[in-house]
Symmetry: C2
Amino acid sequence: MPELRPTFPQGDARNAIVEAALAVFAAEGFHGAGTRQIAQAAGVSQPLLNHHFGGKEALWRVVGEQITADFMAFMTDAVDLALPPGDGVTAMLRAYLAFWKARPLSFRFNLWRRLDGLQDERVSRSEQMTRPVVAFMQRAQDAGFIRNDLPPGLAAIMGGALVQFLLDSQLEIRAALAVTGDEGLADEDAIGHIVRLLRAPS
Amino acid sequence: MPELRPTFPQGDARNAIVEAALAVFAAEGFHGAGTRQIAQAAGVSQPLLNHHFGGKEALWRVVGEQITADFMAFMTDAVDLALPPGDGVTAMLRAYLAFWKARPLSFRFNLWRRLDGLQDERVSRSEQMTRPVVAFMQRAQDAGFIRNDLPPGLAAIMGGALVQFLLDSQLEIRAALAVTGDEGLADEDAIGHIVRLLRAPS
DNA sequence: CCTATCGCTGATCGATTGATCAGTCAACGC
DNA sequence: GCGTTGACTGATCAATCGATCAGCGATAGG
């Protein structure tokens, strides 16, 4: 009877390592982060990483999978398919924005994963994260909520692009495109404008 | 009389190194790329990198500065301030898209630079690259070309975001958001839709 | 023909990497 | 009390990193 995880002692050191690994990986990327650095941030010794996770690669994978799982659970709860298309899109975009704004480290880790990720996960994981947004926009367009002078799929991409860009400008690099003014745009306002732009004329 | 560059022999080996460095850096990032790997790709020995550029960091900087210079020159030529705002925005977005589509390695290197770049260039360089687009959109909005129900600056961000996302989906990760169909959207069509979306009602 | 110069390379440096090993210590069953 | 188990650490491993050094070979000036 094979057991997927070796022993899993349920110690809090494990969680501390994952937490520290998220912080260091988010700041430095996979190749830039060192196992000693992660261990120090977690307050443990370096061999403990290998003892619990089996290696640096495996630790990276655990961090990434936890982010993916959290995101999927959050979006599943937030998305209400019973809402009318208009409110549904707005709620979904809001949830997407709120999730990542509350987890800047996870957001940056995900940016790394698009470039620096291990070979076999570069596409699948990153793709999986944005797919709910795009799929939901697609659904709204199919329901006739999106203006009909846009080719199928473009509105979905636009919605994802705009929200993603809001995140980029607010989380990743401070003032990367600080042309919107000093304090930037409130999320609610920005999402409202995005939805109105893509909405079919009433 | 100080000379900025040590000797600068104007050999073609130098260009070969820069070219190989762009390819390897684009694929692996700064920390992921090795000087021996770059040297092998350029067909030279590894100490030659240090001889010509003084180190890995300096080589990274040279590659980045060349991309920035090429981009600035290209956009300066492509942007015609005499055009009416509508044609001007379209032409500018087209030029931006064409530049990066013709240089996928430079595009990916620039993605790296946002995360993996050396500390002092992380903001400035990346900011410098998108600023022309945003600034030009801003100008078009000031001229009354952009619909007036958008807060100042948001249209500029939207234009930049949408074009950037077109690039992402086409260059960086194949089929990252392949929801637009099999062959994707033609650039001219996509840009036309974006401009029409943001344009003031006639 | 000699030599100084310059582009360039093989060999090697110390430092740091991720991973491993032997061994300590506390907790627990008997 | 005793032995076993397992989380955990200091010390150390081979491998690789970027950088350096001495020297090769071709070329140009005298």
